[in-house]
Symmetry: D2
Subunit: 297 residues, 4 copies
Amino acid sequence: MGLRDKAVVTCAVSGAVANKEQCPGIPYTPQEYAEEVRRARDAGASMVHIHARTPDGTPTVDPGHYAAITRAVLERTPDIIVNYSTGWVGLPMADRVGHITGLRPEVGALNMGSMNYAKYSPKRKGFVFGFVFENSFDDIIFLLRRMQEAGVKPECECFDVGHVESVEPLVDLGVLAPPIQFSLIHGVLGGIQATARNLAHMASVVPDGSTWGVIAVSREQWTMVGAAAALGGNVRVGFEDNFYLPSGEMATSNGELVEAAAQIVRLQGREVAEPDEARAILSLPAEPDRGAVTGEG
Amino acid sequence: MGLRDKAVVTCAVSGAVANKEQCPGIPYTPQEYAEEVRRARDAGASMVHIHARTPDGTPTVDPGHYAAITRAVLERTPDIIVNYSTGWVGLPMADRVGHITGLRPEVGALNMGSMNYAKYSPKRKGFVFGFVFENSFDDIIFLLRRMQEAGVKPECECFDVGHVESVEPLVDLGVLAPPIQFSLIHGVLGGIQATARNLAHMASVVPDGSTWGVIAVSREQWTMVGAAAALGGNVRVGFEDNFYLPSGEMATSNGELVEAAAQIVRLQGREVAEPDEARAILSLPAEPDRGAVTGEG
Amino acid sequence: MGLRDKAVVTCAVSGAVANKEQCPGIPYTPQEYAEEVRRARDAGASMVHIHARTPDGTPTVDPGHYAAITRAVLERTPDIIVNYSTGWVGLPMADRVGHITGLRPEVGALNMGSMNYAKYSPKRKGFVFGFVFENSFDDIIFLLRRMQEAGVKPECECFDVGHVESVEPLVDLGVLAPPIQFSLIHGVLGGIQATARNLAHMASVVPDGSTWGVIAVSREQWTMVGAAAALGGNVRVGFEDNFYLPSGEMATSNGELVEAAAQIVRLQGREVAEPDEARAILSLPAEPDRGAVTGEG
Amino acid sequence: MGLRDKAVVTCAVSGAVANKEQCPGIPYTPQEYAEEVRRARDAGASMVHIHARTPDGTPTVDPGHYAAITRAVLERTPDIIVNYSTGWVGLPMADRVGHITGLRPEVGALNMGSMNYAKYSPKRKGFVFGFVFENSFDDIIFLLRRMQEAGVKPECECFDVGHVESVEPLVDLGVLAPPIQFSLIHGVLGGIQATARNLAHMASVVPDGSTWGVIAVSREQWTMVGAAAALGGNVRVGFEDNFYLPSGEMATSNGELVEAAAQIVRLQGREVAEPDEARAILSLPAEPDRGAVTGEG
């Protein structure tokens, strides 16, 4: 079985929106992050996507909190690929990237376009929330340059077809270099919706040689994980995207969510990638440099 | 959860090509058929697709053997939907349909086009087998008329896009009536190959209001079951199509194969249809008339 | 030949970005608008999309200028369908819709989402322009309500797949009613790019029963008009979108651009819709109420 | 403008089914072939696809007639690419290829699969014709080997998705070498039907680096030429496929049909390839060896 048949499973363990009242399994403290990542790794994840929180659960971009969480995570799960978010509404760009440049994770995720970002409830006949999520080309270029300087691989988060196609000028400018790692996000109102056909098309515009994985919000995630597995892509699950198992029950840990994703992958005759395989698939250095976060090396 | 979220799982328990030496789980005797169908039903199948065999394993179209097998099956699994094959190379058409007209199963499958039907081995650098599988429009119309007279719902087995589109004149002639039940078969060399993109396209030409399920041969079947689950279709597994579990191990029973298919369906947040739900989905009468096979009613 | 085989050709005669120095054929004065629309109509257009200008060429949303232009247009071309833009960056929403509510054109176009709106030049290795084009759900709902009150049919301008899918909550809220008229815009950097495959996919998410046409910027427009004609859609050309004929020469009038579009439509065996046919296709009233603009009726 | 923007227009001047009573422009004598090819070449064709006829119009595979026709054609149109058919129902394979091996045209077309080949008339409520068109893998391999020995480039005529995918074992066996030239044929009942979406999908399974053109029968041809132009493919027209211009009038010569195809190509901003450009696009030798047919060289 070659690398083509391996799927990288990423776990987005906490997100920055929900809290323990809504979903008790969401980690707040470094220790909780470390336990959740361990569970995710045991269940088949090879990469963790981190939004930091202070120990009381407040989302933060503070590099100190990112460092504490990452150290705790790596102590229990030394081989995991570490991936930080830069998504944040209403903060200056410089603040959205300090933890990336300071701690140099292997991967940094960034949003590749602007969009309406909303949720509608047919039951309430109204919007649950809705705002313009601004990620201008200037901001994107700023983030990509900082990642390039820090030696951090960008993960290009795309909420629609045009976001994927927006990489072309960035490659031409030299701020982004193929092979590119894409996350194709489905199901946010304003962006592309969660259907297998949408994923098949969106994946078809990913440049040859680059890699892609699927992200989807709410329970439709499971359809999209199934579609991505069939289309040869990677997958992401975790409390950031969805609390519920395919059965409809709320998961008690990220490990349960990863376990379901791993089963989907395996039942289609593929395997989940171990971290070293995931690094090869994603064109990451075989040996991560953890010096900036551990203070060693 | 509405019917749209239910997937009909069909089990093709024996086929007519392989034998117990290749795969010990293939049933020969009525009793073995009955046990295999019971296992398939327990694991989530609501329809059984039958190619009959004599008790020594020889494939046959003899209505007597079909009757014996069906009676044994229904004794152990009274609620299963019974579906007979009409596929056979080198027999007069009348002989390919006698068990259908005589025993009136709920569903009769037929091939919707001609094609090269082959298997190639890159290892051996040669064809394992290869022939022209002839199913002319005249033959198709003959079969459809017999089924219509017998009150048997046709299952239109399509090996490529044009086979699906070939129903148009048949509907115009009145020998086939919507909603139509399609099986979209992937992976036979000469027909459409087994990729999620091919399935997405082939399903897109199925007329609105009709239903479709996927069939695929060899281990690629599992990718196609995953893709069909994501695209909203039904699925078929069983020793006729593939001996191997997603792990690569040979299955010991059809039940194991159905169990894997059911898990794929459930892990995407759908459920497997019970026989009464499957009858509703496929527009079959709610109460099957078993009189012709049981001699009662 | 039924209505299905007729394509509505719309002409966007001026736009609000370019000027006569770049393209001498762009109309400024009401008289020039009237002449350009007459040429477009003679060449096969049945709808005109208007951005108003003051007679010196300055773009304006002033209802007075819209009225003067529209009167001049209708005097020379009484049967044309009149369609006003509401697209404008940096103006309060109320100002973007005054000409719509005051003059009640048959159709009002509005943007269905937010996005990066940019142009990149590989030659210059830099962006020609780039900004965040904000069209929040609140703004969209505001415009739709005004149009609904004024009895103006909205044309939903979509720059990516998710914009098309954003109509769902709007229909649920009752501010938009099927059948919906979609314009699928391709080739703006930040939105979906101009390929036939992208158009085929984007058109596939348009709800059944609704209608769609293609808009594309720059010379790729001609490929997209060809693709739309083949896929059964309507088309738009005109100086707002592109100055150049398929040959690469700059057009001297909107009529030349419409003539090329009409030829593409006819060479594929379809016909261009006359205004009354276009009204039927787009579910507009058969008899337009011009009272608000002409002061009669 | 690079070769990517050039479309090869092929003209299939006569076919073997229709006659002058149905369509007076169909050529019978070598002189008529020569005149028709000249008209096609003048209108933009760079390749001619020939089915030979005796001077009274009877279709024939006789190499003598092929030679006479080809000599007459090349005398008037020395630079045209010559492409012979091998399609014939009910003849031994050896007879279907004698003109290819004897006269060594630049290109030889062959059918890549078996299928039902039929035409249905909704008006008459009946089939106009219908038969099983047999082209087994053995026959395909036989033809490919003869072409390979004769130095003739095969054109793989595919009537459905699986026919395109059937090249894989043939490449593995070494009887077919990439880049492969595909003709994607649409609209024959039994094969894939003539829609832009079908073409987009079928073209997507053509291996990278290979080339494809579209063939379609009846008036739907014009939609398919438009779709192929938009998707970047080559196109074929001519009396073999369709007698009627986009307007619905019967063409009086192949030149008129080619003229319409060339207009479609040019109106999308592409150009028709000259014969030397077509040879480069199709990976044919820059200088054709005409020795076998002219008796020189």
